[in-house]
Symmetry: C2
Subunit: 110 residues, 2 copies
């Protein structure tokens, strides 16, 4: 799968403002990646605010440490559904989730 690889590279780093142009991501693909990145960083932020390890969060979610790691890395193998469910489980509201999605996603801040 071509798209998965591109997405993985994309999420892995470097692009700052708009996620387009690094490799030929269409606008919607880019937007989708940005949605996922926002959720991914929200998961990490909420977890660390609660001072939980990935393993603890995994248990709380009925999942595993590795899946949490993949969520936070916005791995292409994790669905938006899973990330949203995780945030809700950590006590986020629908509005919180929405704000995570619309927030800009700066990465690799210098």
């Amino acid at each position: 799968m071509e798209k998965r690889k591109r997405q993985r590279l994309e999420s892995a780093g470097w692009v700052v403002g708009s996620t387009t142009d690094f490799l030929g991501l269409s606008d919607e693909e880019a937007a989708l990646v940005e949605v996922k990145l926002g959720l991914a960083s929200a998961v990490r932020k909420q977890r660390s605010r609660r001072r939980m390890t990935q393993a603890q969060l995994g248990r709380l979610l009925g999942s595993s440490q590795s899946r949490v790691a993949k969520m936070e890395a916005a791995d292409p193998s994790v669905s938006i559904d899973l990330m949203v469910r995780s945030l809700l489980r950590m006590g986020a509201s629908r509005k919180d989730v929405a704000s995570y999605i619309s927030m800009p996603t700066p990465r690799r801040a210098a």
Copy 2:
């Protein structure tokens, strides 16, 4: 699957403000359903604004009429990912998606 049935009933109607309590949905399950309902109605709204049929939208998405119908019905077999991708494909922005998620979801308006 127990949960799926409840979710189907839930989405099918009647509940107005909070989706809790109709049957023992936990708070997060209820919130997740509300997220899906918001996206589902957004898909319908965007599609009809564009005066497209479900079949046309299905083709635009590389999918089918029946899947579009299920999306708009917030069928448990459709993922948030698919609904978000559909909205983005119809030209919605990340912020638009976020607002659909946080909007209240009145249904069956008298």
